[in-house]
Each structure stands twice: as C-alpha cells, then as structure tokens.
Symmetry: C2
Subunit: 261 residues, 2 copies
C-alpha cells in the first residue's frame, strides 16, 4: 500500500490533471514502469502469444468482452476480435456492438481460441456457416487452448471438438451439449484436455482468470483480478438455476427472449 | 425447472438445430413469449426509458459492456453507446473496440447516464474536452440517475456533479476523487441522491443489478442475474486492495500501465 501510494504521488505530480494520475498511463511514465513489469511472465522467445476471440452477429457481448478484458492485461499476449467480416458486430440485444479487427480468413493461427455464446439465432448462424466451422476446426488443430463461454461450447461441440470431453455451457443448454457428445458438468468453468469451457455469460470472467494462471502464473492472475477490481458483491444471490428456483428461471428465459432480436 | 424444461422441449422441437434451442430466440417463438414477459415492469406510458453509456477512446471496455449487458435485459429500457463521433471507440488496451451508435450532439435527453472509466490518458481527454463535459452536465440536469464505473466517477467529479456526495471509484483513485469534492467510500457501489457510482471495472456488473432493481424491481433484477448466470466464483480472492496486499497492488498497477496505450 505504501509503495503504491508512493507511486501515485509521483504520477500525480507528473500528470496534467488529477484524472491522469488515477490509473497511471501518462506517456512519459509508461515506458520505464512497463519495462520493469512482468517480463518474466511473457511468452518465451519474444513472440506474443495470440489470443483470438471469434465475434459474430447476435453474440452476447459480455461473453466476449469479459474474458478479453482479463486476458488483455497479460504480459506477452495479444487479444484480437475476429469475425466473418471486419467491422461492426452487433450483440444479441442490438443495444451495442463491438468491432472485428480481423476476418477469419486473415487468421491462420492462434495460440488460444475463445468462442463466446449468443442467442439461439446467433449461435445457429455460426453452426450453419461452414467456412466459420472449418476455421474453428483449423485453428483448434494447432491451438494450445480452445475455450468457450456460455453457448460457445455448443458451437465447439457442433464442430466435433468436445466428443467425450467434460464441459459446461449456459445452464439451460446442458441437454443440447450432452446431445452433441460432450459430458455436461455443472461447474463455473471446466478444463478437459486443452478445452476450457465456461458457464453462462459472466462466467467468462472467472475463466479468464483461470486461463491467466495457465498462461502466465498464479501471481499474475491474482494481480489481474485486482487490476479489474474483481471482488464480486452482487446485491442478490440468484446467479445459478438452483439458487434462483423455477419461477426466476422462467422469468430469466422470458427476459432473454424479449431482449434478443 | 419442470416448466422451463417443458419450454425447452418446445423450442427444441421448433428449432432448426439444437443450438437454436439453447437460449431460445427463434423468430417465430420470440413473439408470444415476449408478449407475456415483464410488461408490468416496463416504463409507464409506453415510452422506453433511455439508458446512455458515454464511450470514449481509451476507456476500459468492461466498464461499459458489463453494466450495458445487465441493463439491456430490462423490459421497457433501451441502452445506447454514445460517443464524440459515431463508430469505433477503442479501449485502453487497443485489443478491442466497441461502436458508438450516436454522437453526443444527437442526444439531448437520457433517463440514465452511465460514464465508464478508462486509462489516465483516456479519462483526461474527456475532462479536457469541454463539449463532452458540457454534455454530461446537460444530460445530468434532467436525468433520473447519473452513474459511473471505475474512474468514470472522476469524470463526474470534474464536471462538478459530486460535490459533497458519497461516491466510490477505482481503488487507486480515491485521493483524486476526494480532491475533487466527493467523499470516497470504499464500497462496491454507492448511491447518494441520484448519483450511483461503482468501484473498479467489474463493479459495474454489480451496480447494473442494483440499478435494475431501482429501474424495475427486485424480482426482475434477480432474474437478470440468472439470465447472465452471474454466480461469481473467481479462482482467487484478490479482487480488493486489502485482500491483495501491497505486492499485488504494485504488480496490478504495473500490468495496467503495461497494457494501456
């Protein structure tokens, strides 16, 4: 605490305004501090390990941005959003969009693939788009880790990648996951071989921290958790179907259907 | 559970593929189900209440997308991302971008304003852009709720809106918040009058659920929590500075400086 505050004092003195001091990042200061940070956890050989997030229309934005935010703080790794086309990719509620910076046909290799979930229409469109499914299988063939959030695991299962693997998915999608050859496990995130699957939507943040420990080390992952101040304190305790009970389960499904387009 | 599974069976039978059943949302089915959902929680008079998220270069993407994801599930509300210009708005790590669908000069009124945090350079650029600061004050003058995540509260404070208000911010920014006239409180989210401020980055999700209860009701907020399967189980317990201790605090600041651009 003392040393951090000491650094804050330096940053504040150097910053144009108080705001600039808040999370650091003035250009003049970023250099030397960055040079001291986390070099021992970077990928060997100087090449950044590449993390790619498949983004697609009607995906659930938080499925992608949650773990992307976590993983983008790791030294020695880059994170890219990759879509069928470059440009806007609208989420399943139409209320927001992210930007695909690369097309799938521009990306031949990823160290880590992450497939987010989406609405039924969104995920179905991916499964029915043979070039995307071929790309997923191609990337998976050489990836170190292939991962998913929410119904993204159904997409991996449809690609034939989760046969016989323990895996998880959105709570209402477990039967579909089992039907495609995976073995559903009701956990927050599940590792089976090189496949790491997360439960619904927000579970991608938890999985992102788990992956951070795999990709770097526990200390770095713990620091990333603090960097994102991930000390969850939801005002209710209804985040799993068992805790919520049948009436909230019904209402949750209705809210999803109503909010999706 | 039984009724939800019953509905899943219907969806599955109707869907083109199993994926379509997973989170519902086939066009044919969305209509009647949506009609039954949550109409009693919608805003009175048929007008949707408008939630606007200010997005800006070098903001922290999860600050915006976390609560936007939560709030986009509320019946009777719309969520928009609003920037200085329409189009791509890159986050503080350059690894991803979201899309501003509206310019600030196109938006004269919001029921709820949400200001995310960002890197020091990002937040400073907002504070130094007088048209944006004028817009924040203008929107705030008629908003029902004015809210922030992370260092977004510093932007509100620089706009002069938090004088004497209890408020929170990113853990390392508390001195700056106090210096601008607010009274820092080390809580996950803080309400003072019509101002609701959240702690760092991921705290926006918790605040989003709290706002959901204010805007709709507890039952709806609880169902949204399940809809996003927000049952947090981080693999570590280092999400607050006190839990993390001084060494992880230093490393977290270094990772932030290193990852920002």
């Amino acid at each position: 605490m003392v040393e951090v505050h000491g650094r804050r004092q330096v940053l504040r003195a150097a910053a144009v305004t108080g705001v600039a001091a808040a999370v650091g990042g003035t250009a003049a200061l970023a250099g030397p501090v960055a040079a001291a940070a986390g070099e021992d956890t970077a990928a060997a050989g100087g090449r950044k390990r590449r993390i790619g997030v498949l983004v697609y229309d009607r995906m659930t934005l938080l499925d992608a941005i949650g773990p992307a935010e976590v993983l983008s703080r790791l030294p020695g790794h880059s994170v890219s959003l990759i879509g069928r086309r470059r440009g806007d990719v609208r989420g399943d509620t139409r209320h927001g969009a992210v930007v695909a910076d690369y097309r799938i046909d521009e990306v031949d290799h990823l160290d880590i693939l992450l497939v987010p979930g989406g609405s039924g229409r969104g995920a179905t469109a991916v499964v029915e788009h043979e070039p995307t499914m071929r790309w997923i299988r191609h990337i998976d063939a050489r990836s170190t880790w292939t991962t998913s959030v929410c119904t993204g695991s159904l997409i991996l299962a449809y690609a034939g990648l989760l046969q016989g693997h323990r895996a998880t998915t959105y709570w209402s999608a477990k039967d579909e996951l089992n039907a495609k050859g995976a073995v559903y496990v009701p956990e927050r995130f599940v590792r089976s071989g090189k496949y790491v699957t997360a439960a619904g939507v927000s579970a991608g943040i938890d999985m992102g921290l788990y992956l951070s420990a795999l990709l770097a080390d526990d200390t770095t992952a713990k620091a990333v958790q603090l960097a994102l101040e991930y000390d969850p304190q939801p005002p209710f305790d209804t985040g799993s179907p068992d805790k919520a009970g049948p009436e909230l389960q019904q209402l949750a499904m209705r809210l999803l259907l109503q909010s999706q387009h």
